[in-house]
Protein backbone atom coordinates (compact mmCIF):
# COMPACT_ATOMS: atom_id res chain seq x y z
CA UNK A 1 0.00 0.00 0.00
CA UNK A 2 1.15 3.47 -0.77
CA UNK A 3 1.43 5.15 2.60
CA UNK A 4 2.18 8.50 0.98
CA UNK A 5 -1.33 8.84 -0.44
CA UNK A 6 -2.37 12.32 0.46
CA UNK A 7 -5.86 13.14 1.58
CA UNK A 8 -7.49 15.61 -0.74
CA UNK A 9 -9.19 18.79 0.43
CA UNK A 10 -11.51 18.55 -2.54
CA UNK A 11 -14.49 16.86 -0.76
CA UNK A 12 -14.82 19.80 1.65
CA UNK A 13 -14.95 22.36 -1.15
CA UNK A 14 -17.16 20.15 -3.24
CA UNK A 15 -19.58 19.82 -0.31
CA UNK A 16 -19.70 23.62 0.10
CA UNK A 17 -20.19 23.94 -3.67
CA UNK A 18 -23.01 21.39 -3.59
CA UNK A 19 -24.72 22.90 -0.56
CA UNK A 20 -24.56 26.40 -2.03
CA UNK A 21 -25.71 25.19 -5.43
CA UNK A 22 -28.67 23.39 -3.90
CA UNK A 23 -29.64 26.41 -1.79
CA UNK A 24 -29.35 28.71 -4.81
CA UNK A 25 -31.36 26.30 -6.96
CA UNK A 26 -34.11 26.03 -4.35
CA UNK A 27 -34.52 29.68 -3.29
CA UNK A 28 -31.97 31.80 -5.20
CA UNK A 29 -34.37 33.34 -7.70
CA UNK A 30 -37.02 33.94 -5.02
CA UNK A 31 -34.44 35.65 -2.80
CA UNK A 32 -33.54 38.08 -5.61
CA UNK A 33 -37.24 38.70 -6.19
CA UNK A 34 -37.75 39.41 -2.48
CA UNK A 35 -34.68 41.59 -1.86
CA UNK A 36 -34.73 43.58 -5.11
CA UNK A 37 -38.22 43.59 -6.63
CA UNK A 38 -40.88 42.74 -4.01
CA UNK A 39 -41.14 46.27 -2.62
CA UNK A 40 -41.11 48.17 -5.97
CA UNK A 41 -43.71 45.71 -7.30
CA UNK A 42 -45.88 46.19 -4.23
CA UNK A 43 -45.70 42.51 -3.25
CA UNK A 44 -44.37 43.49 0.17
CA UNK A 45 -45.08 46.63 2.23
CA UNK A 46 -42.81 49.64 1.70
CA UNK A 47 -41.25 49.25 5.15
CA UNK A 48 -40.55 45.52 4.71
CA UNK A 49 -36.79 46.19 4.64
CA UNK A 50 -36.75 49.12 7.06
CA UNK A 51 -33.72 49.43 9.33
CA UNK A 52 -35.79 48.37 12.38
CA UNK A 53 -37.15 45.26 10.63
CA UNK A 54 -33.78 44.16 9.25
CA UNK A 55 -31.99 44.82 12.54
CA UNK A 56 -34.55 42.68 14.38
CA UNK A 57 -34.12 39.94 11.77
CA UNK A 58 -30.32 40.04 11.95
CA UNK A 59 -30.38 40.03 15.77
CA UNK A 60 -32.51 36.90 15.82
CA UNK A 61 -30.50 33.67 15.92
CA UNK A 62 -32.49 32.09 13.09
CA UNK A 63 -32.08 35.28 11.09
CA UNK A 64 -28.32 35.24 11.67
CA UNK A 65 -28.08 31.57 10.67
CA UNK A 66 -30.11 32.22 7.52
CA UNK A 67 -28.05 35.25 6.46
CA UNK A 68 -24.76 33.44 7.08
CA UNK A 69 -25.91 30.29 5.28
CA UNK A 70 -27.06 32.20 2.20
CA UNK A 71 -24.10 34.58 1.87
CA UNK A 72 -21.36 32.06 2.73
CA UNK A 73 -22.74 29.11 0.74
CA UNK A 74 -23.50 31.26 -2.33
CA UNK A 75 -19.89 32.51 -2.23
CA UNK A 76 -18.39 29.01 -1.81
CA UNK A 77 -20.62 27.60 -4.53
CA UNK A 78 -19.71 30.36 -6.97
CA UNK A 79 -15.92 30.38 -6.43
CA UNK A 80 -15.64 26.60 -6.71
CA UNK A 81 -17.47 26.62 -10.01
CA UNK A 82 -15.56 29.64 -11.32
CA UNK A 83 -12.22 28.09 -10.29
CA UNK A 84 -12.95 24.84 -12.09
CA UNK A 85 -14.17 26.70 -15.19
CA UNK A 86 -10.92 28.67 -15.55
CA UNK A 87 -9.40 25.71 -17.40
CA UNK A 88 -12.30 25.77 -19.88
CA UNK A 89 -11.55 29.36 -20.86
CA UNK A 90 -7.85 28.62 -21.27
CA UNK A 91 -6.52 29.90 -17.96
CA UNK A 92 -4.14 27.53 -16.26
CA UNK A 93 -5.43 27.58 -12.72
CA UNK A 94 -2.56 27.50 -10.26
CA UNK A 95 -2.14 28.51 -6.65
CA UNK A 96 -2.67 32.19 -7.43
CA UNK A 97 -6.04 31.58 -9.06
CA UNK A 98 -6.99 29.27 -6.20
CA UNK A 99 -6.18 31.91 -3.58
CA UNK A 100 -7.97 34.61 -5.59
CA UNK A 101 -11.13 32.52 -6.03
CA UNK A 102 -11.47 30.83 -2.66
CA UNK A 103 -10.06 33.92 -0.93
CA UNK A 104 -13.12 35.98 -1.86
CA UNK A 105 -15.36 33.27 -0.39
CA UNK A 106 -13.32 33.08 2.80
CA UNK A 107 -13.24 36.88 3.12
CA UNK A 108 -16.98 37.07 2.43
CA UNK A 109 -17.70 34.44 5.08
CA UNK A 110 -15.50 36.10 7.71
CA UNK A 111 -16.92 39.57 6.98
CA UNK A 112 -20.47 38.23 7.30
CA UNK A 113 -19.62 36.60 10.64
CA UNK A 114 -18.02 39.85 11.80
CA UNK A 115 -21.01 41.94 10.71
CA UNK A 116 -23.52 39.59 12.35
CA UNK A 117 -21.43 39.65 15.53
CA UNK A 118 -21.25 43.47 15.46
CA UNK A 119 -25.02 43.71 14.98
CA UNK A 120 -25.38 41.85 18.28
CA UNK A 121 -28.07 39.69 19.76
Amino acid sequence: MNQALKRSHEPIFWLLFGAGGMLAALIGAMLVLITAFAVPLGLLPADAFSYANMLAFAQNLFGKAFILAVVALFFWHAVHRIFHSLHDVGIHAGTGARVLCYGTALAGTLLTVWALWTIGF
Binding site: G20, G21, M22, A24, A25, L26, I27, G28, A29, M30, L31, V32, L33, I34, T35, A36, F37, A38, V39, P40, L43, L44, P45, D47, A48, F49, Y51, N53, M54, L55, F57, A58, I67, V70, V71, F74, F75, H77, A78, V79, H80, R81, I82, S85, D88, G90, T104, G108, L111, T112, W114, A115, L116, T118, I119
Partner: protein
Protein backbone atom coordinates in the same frame (compact mmCIF):
# COMPACT_ATOMS: atom_id res chain seq x y z
CA UNK B 1 15.74 17.33 -41.90
CA UNK B 2 12.79 19.47 -41.29
CA UNK B 3 11.40 20.01 -37.83
CA UNK B 4 8.16 18.19 -37.16
CA UNK B 5 5.18 20.44 -37.15
CA UNK B 6 2.34 18.34 -35.82
CA UNK B 7 -1.10 19.80 -36.21
CA UNK B 8 -2.43 21.06 -32.91
CA UNK B 9 -6.11 21.80 -32.97
CA UNK B 10 -6.59 25.35 -31.75
CA UNK B 11 -8.65 25.52 -28.58
CA UNK B 12 -9.51 29.22 -28.57
CA UNK B 13 -13.27 29.65 -28.62
CA UNK B 14 -13.78 25.87 -28.45
CA UNK B 15 -17.09 26.20 -26.67
CA UNK B 16 -18.65 28.26 -29.46
CA UNK B 17 -18.35 25.28 -31.84
CA UNK B 18 -21.24 23.32 -30.42
CA UNK B 19 -24.56 24.40 -28.87
CA UNK B 20 -24.01 21.75 -26.18
CA UNK B 21 -20.77 23.46 -25.12
CA UNK B 22 -22.40 26.90 -25.27
CA UNK B 23 -25.09 25.68 -22.87
CA UNK B 24 -22.36 24.24 -20.63
CA UNK B 25 -20.53 27.57 -20.50
CA UNK B 26 -23.75 29.48 -19.79
CA UNK B 27 -24.74 27.21 -16.93
CA UNK B 28 -21.21 27.35 -15.50
CA UNK B 29 -21.39 31.12 -16.01
CA UNK B 30 -24.35 31.39 -13.66
CA UNK B 31 -21.73 31.05 -10.89
CA UNK B 32 -20.50 34.59 -11.63
CA UNK B 33 -23.99 35.96 -11.01
CA UNK B 34 -24.38 33.90 -7.82
CA UNK B 35 -21.05 35.44 -6.75
CA UNK B 36 -22.32 38.96 -7.56
CA UNK B 37 -25.49 38.34 -5.55
CA UNK B 38 -23.46 37.06 -2.58
CA UNK B 39 -21.42 40.26 -2.84
CA UNK B 40 -24.59 42.37 -2.94
CA UNK B 41 -25.95 40.65 0.18
CA UNK B 42 -22.58 40.96 1.92
CA UNK B 43 -22.63 44.71 1.25
CA UNK B 44 -26.10 44.78 2.79
CA UNK B 45 -25.16 42.99 6.00
CA UNK B 46 -22.04 45.19 6.34
CA UNK B 47 -24.17 48.34 5.91
CA UNK B 48 -26.69 47.00 8.42
CA UNK B 49 -23.86 46.64 10.94
CA UNK B 50 -22.86 50.30 10.34
CA UNK B 51 -26.23 51.72 11.39
CA UNK B 52 -29.38 53.26 9.96
CA UNK B 53 -27.81 55.79 7.59
CA UNK B 54 -25.63 53.15 5.91
CA UNK B 55 -28.57 50.72 5.65
CA UNK B 56 -30.87 53.33 4.11
CA UNK B 57 -28.15 54.24 1.61
CA UNK B 58 -27.78 50.54 0.74
CA UNK B 59 -31.54 50.13 0.14
CA UNK B 60 -31.54 53.27 -2.04
CA UNK B 61 -28.60 51.78 -3.98
CA UNK B 62 -30.46 48.48 -4.48
CA UNK B 63 -33.50 50.46 -5.70
CA UNK B 64 -31.42 52.42 -8.27
CA UNK B 65 -31.86 51.67 -11.98
CA UNK B 66 -28.42 50.09 -12.60
CA UNK B 67 -28.93 47.71 -9.65
CA UNK B 68 -32.46 46.87 -10.79
CA UNK B 69 -31.04 45.93 -14.21
CA UNK B 70 -28.23 43.92 -12.59
CA UNK B 71 -30.67 42.18 -10.27
CA UNK B 72 -32.92 41.32 -13.21
CA UNK B 73 -29.92 39.61 -14.83
CA UNK B 74 -29.07 37.87 -11.54
CA UNK B 75 -32.70 36.75 -11.22
CA UNK B 76 -32.69 35.24 -14.73
CA UNK B 77 -29.36 33.48 -14.12
CA UNK B 78 -30.57 32.16 -10.74
CA UNK B 79 -33.63 30.69 -12.47
CA UNK B 80 -31.41 29.14 -15.12
CA UNK B 81 -29.03 27.82 -12.46
CA UNK B 82 -31.95 26.15 -10.67
CA UNK B 83 -33.24 24.63 -13.89
CA UNK B 84 -29.84 23.22 -14.96
CA UNK B 85 -28.97 22.16 -11.40
CA UNK B 86 -31.94 19.80 -11.30
CA UNK B 87 -31.64 18.86 -14.97
CA UNK B 88 -28.08 17.62 -14.33
CA UNK B 89 -28.94 16.09 -10.93
CA UNK B 90 -29.73 12.61 -12.29
CA UNK B 91 -26.06 12.48 -13.40
CA UNK B 92 -24.50 14.14 -10.34
CA UNK B 93 -26.44 12.03 -7.85
CA UNK B 94 -25.43 8.42 -7.08
CA UNK B 95 -27.92 5.96 -8.64
CA UNK B 96 -31.13 6.16 -6.62
CA UNK B 97 -33.15 3.01 -6.13
CA UNK B 98 -36.68 2.72 -4.82
CA UNK B 99 -38.07 -0.80 -4.39
CA UNK B 100 -35.11 -2.27 -6.29
CA UNK B 101 -35.81 -0.12 -9.36
CA UNK B 102 -33.63 2.74 -10.51
CA UNK B 103 -35.40 6.09 -10.25
CA UNK B 104 -35.74 7.67 -13.70
CA UNK B 105 -33.76 10.83 -14.39
CA UNK B 106 -36.89 12.74 -15.37
CA UNK B 107 -38.42 11.89 -11.97
CA UNK B 108 -35.41 13.27 -10.09
CA UNK B 109 -35.49 16.47 -12.18
CA UNK B 110 -39.24 16.88 -11.65
CA UNK B 111 -38.88 16.33 -7.89
CA UNK B 112 -36.07 18.88 -7.73
CA UNK B 113 -37.96 21.52 -9.69
CA UNK B 114 -41.10 20.82 -7.64
CA UNK B 115 -39.03 21.14 -4.45
CA UNK B 116 -37.66 24.49 -5.62
CA UNK B 117 -41.17 25.75 -6.32
CA UNK B 118 -42.43 24.65 -2.89
CA UNK B 119 -39.36 26.07 -1.08
CA UNK B 120 -39.69 29.41 -2.93
CA UNK B 121 -43.42 29.77 -2.22
CA UNK B 122 -42.78 28.83 1.42
CA UNK B 123 -39.98 31.41 1.70
CA UNK B 124 -42.14 34.15 0.22
CA UNK B 125 -44.98 33.17 2.56
CA UNK B 126 -42.70 33.43 5.60
CA UNK B 127 -41.31 36.82 4.51
CA UNK B 128 -44.84 38.05 3.78
CA UNK B 129 -46.04 36.96 7.23
CA UNK B 130 -43.04 38.58 8.93
CA UNK B 131 -43.43 41.90 7.09
CA UNK B 132 -47.15 42.26 6.43
CA UNK B 133 -48.37 41.91 9.98
CA UNK B 134 -49.51 38.31 9.63
CA UNK B 135 -47.38 37.35 12.61
CA UNK B 136 -47.98 40.48 14.67
Amino acid sequence: MSARKPYVRPMAGWWRRDPFFVEYMVHEGTAFFVWLYALELLAGVLCLAQGKAAWDAYRAFVASVPLLILNAAIFAMMLYHGYTWFKIMPRTLPPMKVGGKRVAGATITALGLGGALVASVLLFGIVWMLTSGGAQ
